[in-house]
């Protein structure tokens, strides 16, 4: 039975919800049964957010099972490293090289782990870890908020599905006036992975 499980991790306000909507739409487009779960509410206020998206022949639980994630998209470096229990030695991780300091770090009471340490932590749990400068790429195109589409571009090169399937869903979910920009963001993400 085929299944593909995705986890997206980030900070409230980074656009993980739009990205998970797109990813769910692509799954439907490719003919899978799709379920998706995320928590709203308090998490909006700058807290940790996580979105689960599952594709499969049949899908029961909307939550990805710990230890069984196929792809983890980390929208923020520290948040990428927060979910090792969801990973296994086959898991693929894409990390956006972008840092948002948590309050204790801002106050000088805790330390933000180094990029090297985060990379080590991820590699202890995952099969492959790829870093991209997603926010930077999105910012160069004019809007750092397009990070989600950049990340999906990077993901698309591994998950498969024709570009058309992805772009069709993106077209249906982003406002028309931002469509061209989002297409560029998707391509930039896709090209960032060689």
């Amino acid at each position: 039975m085929k299944k593909v499980d995705f986890l997206m991790a980030g900070v409230g306000g980074q656009g993980t919800i739009l990205a998970s909507n797109i990813l769910a739409g692509v799954g439907l487009e490719l003919g899978y049964e799709v379920k998706k779960a995320e928590v709203h509410g308090m998490a909006q206020r700058g807290g940790t957010v996580e979105s689960h998206v599952r594709w499969g022949d049949t899908v029961s639980s909307p939550l990805v099972e710990e230890g069984r994630t196929d792809y983890l998209l980390g929208f923020e470096m520290l948040e990428a490293a927060r979910w090792p229990t969801y990973l296994n030695k086959e898991s693929f991780v894409i990390v956006n090289r972008y840092r948002i300091a948590p309050p204790a770090v801002n106050l000088g009471k805790d330390e933000y782990p180094t990029e090297q340490r985060l990379d080590e932590m991820l590699k202890e749990s995952a099969g492959k870890v790829i870093w991209i400068n997603g926010t930077e790429l999105a910012a160069e195109l004019g809007n750092p908020a397009m990070i989600g589409v950049v990340m999906l571009g990077a993901l698309s090169s591994m998950v498969g599905g024709e570009d058309d399937a992805w772009l069709k869903v993106i077209e249906s979910l982003v406002p028309a006036k931002f469509l061209e920009l989002n297409k560029k963001a998707f391509a930039a993400g896709r090209n960032s992975i060689q």
């Binding site: 639980s61 229990t85 948590p102």
Partner: protein, 589 residues
């Protein structure tokens, strides 16, 4: 038929619309908020944000008495507020179908407790349905309305966070909702049925008991309770999300999937139990099924295997089942424990007040005052957290003022104040405020008026002058209301005027007169106000940490000075005001 991904909350609204619900009422509360929000957008319906959940349920009951189909929606603790109305409606019965959609929050993602509202079904003697995905959410609302009319009772449709906020496929139906009646509906003046004085209520209780008996019969044959045959070695009884997790884990087992979770189908359960070697209930939170099944004299396992605390997940169900020997132990448990321990060293990222939030300026002054602050439920609850650390109690909606009054009457030495939001005040703040006045209290009450219900995602309320369906309406004027009930010491000011607020706060805290401060500043997420970030003069910065103690995320400790993240900064300039070195310089737009 086309399929579309919908959240459970979207599907509840869609199901209600398709089934001809024309009156809906709710108070926002995570994870239920989007139910009424979505319902309100369908054509030909009336939907409102009520001041609180009890009012919402009364409104839905009234519409149903008049013969219309109606829905009330709320979060689990909202049912506590509405429970008085639930209990009388179970006795009276109704005319049009009535569905109360109530969403539990196991693991307390956004709540003060994780009560299991299935207990309300037994307590109030009301039937309950529980969907396991969005398609069922749509269908069960329709079924609830039909059953409500057939059995002359309200019904509860129970959701949980993972149903309300998960998206699963829903069939988009060709049918249209039934047309509204041509003649205006009639409230039948049936006094014996609708006037619950003791003499009448005594006649109704036997009706309620007989109805429950009939509902239990119905439960035996309703297609929403179904047996899914498996190996017969292991039989699982489950409902809702637990059913989905169990389906992932127990691939060989037989299942009794319950869509109707109260009253239970005893014969069906007996039949299922006799067809399997081991019977196990997989249920989140309380042993609600397990205890009832055991009372039937049936041998069953449940809470000896699965936790009573917190929400389930596929991994929790799998690891508990493996420990109990129900399935083969999987490799990787030790690795998982090591990974969990690595993750636990990472700095946490708790929710915090937004950059530019008016509450932050108020809490700055409250912390300075050293007062004992009795809080309430809303964004401002985040004022308890470091570094603001200026709230010392939060219980439930509206509790702040009464608790402050009680503490004052117990004669503690501290200066005290109650603090609650504008929406929370309209929800349940007025009665305790009247109590303070009536019973000679001295409590200072602060209403943090940001002119919207912000925490749940920007809903309108009686003070905003706009309804859920975007109609202009009378806005209740907080100051006039509070003066009208008899308060004479009332001040309204902007918390960003921190010097003036400091003086007013001290004046009120020191006064024996009961008083109210309205701390008025609109939510910046709602108004979308954003100004240029101020600039830090690194030479002038004394690195004293006073601005960092505002707990504002763009302000960061840097090498020997602070710096400001311009993407996160809202440009509110509160840090400019508190900096003793004039090292943070406002910028013109």
């Amino acid at each position: 038929m086309a399929k579309k991904l919908m959240t459970g909350n979207e599907a509840f609204a869609y199901g209600a619309y398709l089934s001809g619900v024309r009156v809906g009422a709710a108070y926002p509360g995570t994870p239920s908020t989007e139910i009424m929000d979505n319902f309100s957008r369908y054509p030909g319906v009336f939907a409102e944000w009520s001041p609180n959940e009890k009012v919402a349920l009364d409104v839905a009951i009234g519409a149903s008495y008049a013969g219309e189909r109606a829905m009330a929606s709320m979060k689990h603790v909202g049912v506590n507020v509405a429970s008085d109305s639930l209990f009388y409606a179970v006795y009276t019965g109704l005319k049009g179908g009535l569905a109360l959609v109530a969403a539990d929050d196991p693991s307390m993602h956004s709540s003060q407790n994780e009560q299991d509202n299935r207990n309300y079904a037994k307590f109030a003697k009301v039937p309950m349905l529980e969907p396991a995905d969005s398609e069922e959410a749509k269908q069960y609302v329709g079924l609830a309305l039909e059953m409500s009319e057939q059995f002359d009772t309200p019904l509860i449709v129970r959701s949980v966070t993972r149903i309300s906020h998960s998206s699963t496929p829903v069939e988009i139906e060709d049918r249209q909702p039934p047309p509204p009646p041509e003649d205006p509906p009639v409230y039948e003046r049936d006094v014996r049925k609708f006037v619950m004085v003791p003499a009448n209520a005594r006649h109704r209780h036997p009706v309620v008991e007989e109805r429950l008996r009939q509902l239990a019969e119905y439960a035996e044959t309703t297609p929403v309770n179904r047996i899914e045959e498996g190996s017969g070695e292991l039989g699982i009884i489950a409902a809702g999300t637990s059913y989905q997790y169990a389906r992932e884990v127990f691939t060989e087992a037989s299942f009794l999937k319950l869509g109707m979770v109260y009253p239970l189908p005893e014969k069906l359960i007996r039949q299922f139990a006799s067809s399997v070697k081991t019977l196990v209930v997989v249920e989140e939170l309380d042993p609600f099924f397990e205890e009832q099944i055991r009372l039937m004299g049936i041998e069953v396992r449940g809470k000896d295997i699965f936790p009573i605390i917190g929400e389930f997940s596929p991994a929790i169900v799998r690891s508990c089942a493996a420990k109990a020997g129900l399935i083969e132990e999987e490799q990787g448990q030790a690795e998982s424990a090591a990974a969990a321990s690595r993750a636990s060293e990472l700095p946490v990222r708790p929710p915090m007040l937004c950059p530019g939030c008016g509450h932050r300026a108020l809490f700055y002054n409250l912390r300075e005052s050293g007062a004992l602050v009795l809080g309430d439920i809303g964004c401002y609850t985040l004022g308890f957290a470091q570094p603001l650390s200026a709230m010392h109690f939060t219980g439930c909606m509206g509790a702040s003022i009464g608790v402050a009054h009680g503490i004052d009457k117990a004669k503690v030495k501290d200066r005290t104040c109650a603090i609650l939001g504008d929406s929370t005040f309209f929800h349940s703040g007025l009665h305790p405020l009247i109590d303070v006045l009536y019973n000679g209290g001295s409590t200072t009450t602060i209403i943090t008026d940001n002119s919207v219900t912000a925490m749940t995602g920007m809903q309108q309320h009686p003070g905003t002058g706009i309804t859920l369906q975007k109609q202009k309406t009378k806005a209740v004027d907080l100051e006039k209301l509070i003066r009208a009930i008899g308060f004479e010491k009332v001040d309204v000011l902007d918390p960003y005027d921190i010097d003036a607020m400091g003086k007013v706060l001290n004046d009120h805290l020191n006064s024996e007169e009961p008083s109210v401060i309205i701390s008025k500043r609109p939510c910046v997420l709602y108004t979308r106000e954003k100004n240029p970030p101020p600039r830090v003069d690194e030479e002038a910065c004394a690195d004293c940490g006073i601005c960092l103690d505002l707990g504002c995320s763009p302000l960061m400790q840097d090498e020997g000075h602070v710096s400001i993240d311009p993407i996160l900064c809202n440009g509110c300039n509160l840090c400019v005001k508190v900096c003793p070195s004039e090292a943070i310089i406002p910028q013109q737009s």
